[in-house]
Symmetry: C2
């Protein structure tokens, strides 16, 4: 039977990638709801099969729908997920799915009670073929045990294009919770860690005093029983790059290394999805641009078979919780010293 899904909220363009992956896996897009009429017009221009509904409740009540993609404002994503699960449907949230630790705790509880799925679309892994390929290589033992992951996530700000909530700590969730959650997900995934701690984290507003609740820099050290990781994210990706950010991932294994240039290869090869593998005997370059993305098909299978191939439930909550902990405990090293109420 075809999986039918709908979309509630269009607050981030990640909704396009998530939609395409499900469509490519044979799922059927039924309907979409969003208070943002411009975003609705763009989305239905791309996916005309989506029926526009004015009330999100109509989607929750629609018994044809098995899965809801939730992409409202970050601080509204968890609450929507609770309602989706409460209506017997599975949920694929945009990242970040949570803006307070209390939301994570409640979602864990309702997920267990309902047996529904609460998944997060970590696009820097699920939408990036080079990262998928790296996962296959690591699983095949190509670099031995992964003892360190290093992720760099610079982003272009283009602040005029950003909605107001983007600059609100309460509504946007903060730079580490928003951007570093990708690399926390990848640390857990590539090292096979099922628990971890944030060793230290920092946030700063170096250059954007006009946005007092905004941070343009953040970093963290994460550690598990088998590996350590470092993540740096920032909003300083320069305009001359010609891409939204030079996102990198370095994996250090006991028998080799992998570097990913996910988005761009500065003054190098065209396009993105560049994988560089070095082992004990050789170097290898692998262009992963044309490799398939399994995420959509995995989600469709997981919804049908109640399996956890796309993203295990415990992993979803752990990665989200660690990103929030990093954000909440971060030491502010530059910018407004204004003490905001903690996010949880």
């Amino acid at each position: 039977m075809t999986l039918r899904f709908s979309v509630i909220g269009l607050a981030h363009t990640h909704v396009y990638g998530a939609t395409r992956q499900l469509l490519n896996a044979g799922a059927e897009l039924v309907s979409v709801a969003s208070p943002d009429l411009d975003a609705l017009a763009r989305y239905t221009g791309e996916f005309p099969q989506a029926q526009v509904v004015t009330d999100a409740d109509a989607i929750l009540e629609d018994s044809r729908i098995q899965l809801v993609i939730g992409m409202p404002r970050p601080d509204e994503r968890a609450a929507l997920g609770m309602r989706v699960m409460g209506h017997g449907k599975d949920y694929l949230a945009g990242k970040p799915a949570f803006t307070t630790l209390e939301q994570v705790q409640t979602a864990r509880k309702i997920q267990q009670e309902t047996g529904r799925k609460f998944m997060v679309y970590f696009s820097e892994r699920f939408a990036n073929p080079a990262t998928v390929k790296a996962g296959e290589l690591v699983a095949a033992g190509a670099i031995g045990s992964v003892i360190h992951t290093l992720g760099i996530g610079p982003h272009s700000l283009n602040h005029a294009s950003r909605p107001d909530w983007f600059f609100s700590r309460e509504q946007g969730g903060g730079i580490l919770n928003d951007l570093a959650s990708h690399q926390i997900d990848q640390f857990l995934y590539f090292t096979g860690s099922t628990s971890a701690e944030i060793v230290t984290s920092q946030i700063a507003n170096y250059q954007h005093p006009q946005f007092p609740e905004f941070d343009d820099f953040g970093d963290l050290v994460i550690r598990s029983d088998r590996a350590a990781g470092y993540v740096r994210v920032d909003w300083f990706s320069p305009g001359g790059l010609g891409a939204w950010g030079d996102v990198r991932l370095f994996l250090t294994g006991t028998e080799g290394t992998i570097e990913l240039r996910k988005i761009v290869d500065v003054q190098g090869r065209p396009g993105g999805n560049h994988l560089f593998l070095v082992n004990g005997s050789q170097q290898e370059y692998i262009n992963c641009s044309d490799m398939p993305l399994p995420f959509g098909a995995q989600v469709v299978a997981d919804v049908r078979n109640r399996t956890e191939t796309a993203i295990p439930q415990a992993h979803t909550f752990l990665a989200s919780e660690l990103a929030l902990q990093a954000q909440i405990r971060a030491v502010r090293v530059a910018g407004e010293s204004l003490q905001h109420p903690p996010l949880s």
Copy 2:
């Protein structure tokens, strides 16, 4: 008048680069002393003008000598420096120059009392044209204010080629003190920081239980009043790289970024010294291989004019002290839980 220098100790091949830089700047190599006869033969094969003296004291007492390069075992470098300064000569130590905090304190005191120079040869900056070029670009404002430095220093172990002291924590100084001191030097240099703190540091022995005092992994977060930095060093650089390590430096500025591939460009351009600059309007690749290294001439001028153009005295001690603090305070995350006496 020609600067005359001698060499005491040949425990690291960095002595070759330091010697060449001084010779290229017109200095005269007078003599060399080392208990390692094989190393002596190799060194005098390369620099036949160096007169071999069996007693290092003869160099200290030689009134012709203005500068001594000190490259004995790491734990002997500071004590040698005190004697060199006590004999009215300037000192250029191999890195790491110190293995205890007490050594740093004593060296600071004697340096102030004697007015002699205690310099450290941080080769990943002074012997690397790409790093020199990056310094010029940053000083010229090419990327605005540097708010973050990220240094990766993987090294090949080749353990059969290493002397016994290399695997002794007391004699070798530890992985962070040894390898990460390079990147701590570069953090201070590129951010213009004159004080800094080690926020957190970790060490681990993941894969070499046969060397219980050795660590094959270390990392740290450093912070000043204007920037933050991260350093990861390890002994896992894989054999297939075809070089001793893929040393990288990423500078994040408020107006642009610089990446250095110091030693190798995996599956890319031949050789080392690759600089990638991105600013608000463009990307640029600069091959720095043929650019001159100013360090030797700066040292010669500093000795003559009592200036501090090569490496300021306060910077030398601060970088060394921070590397030691990172080492001493590091949390052990894998390997022998054996508690060694602290290095200071």
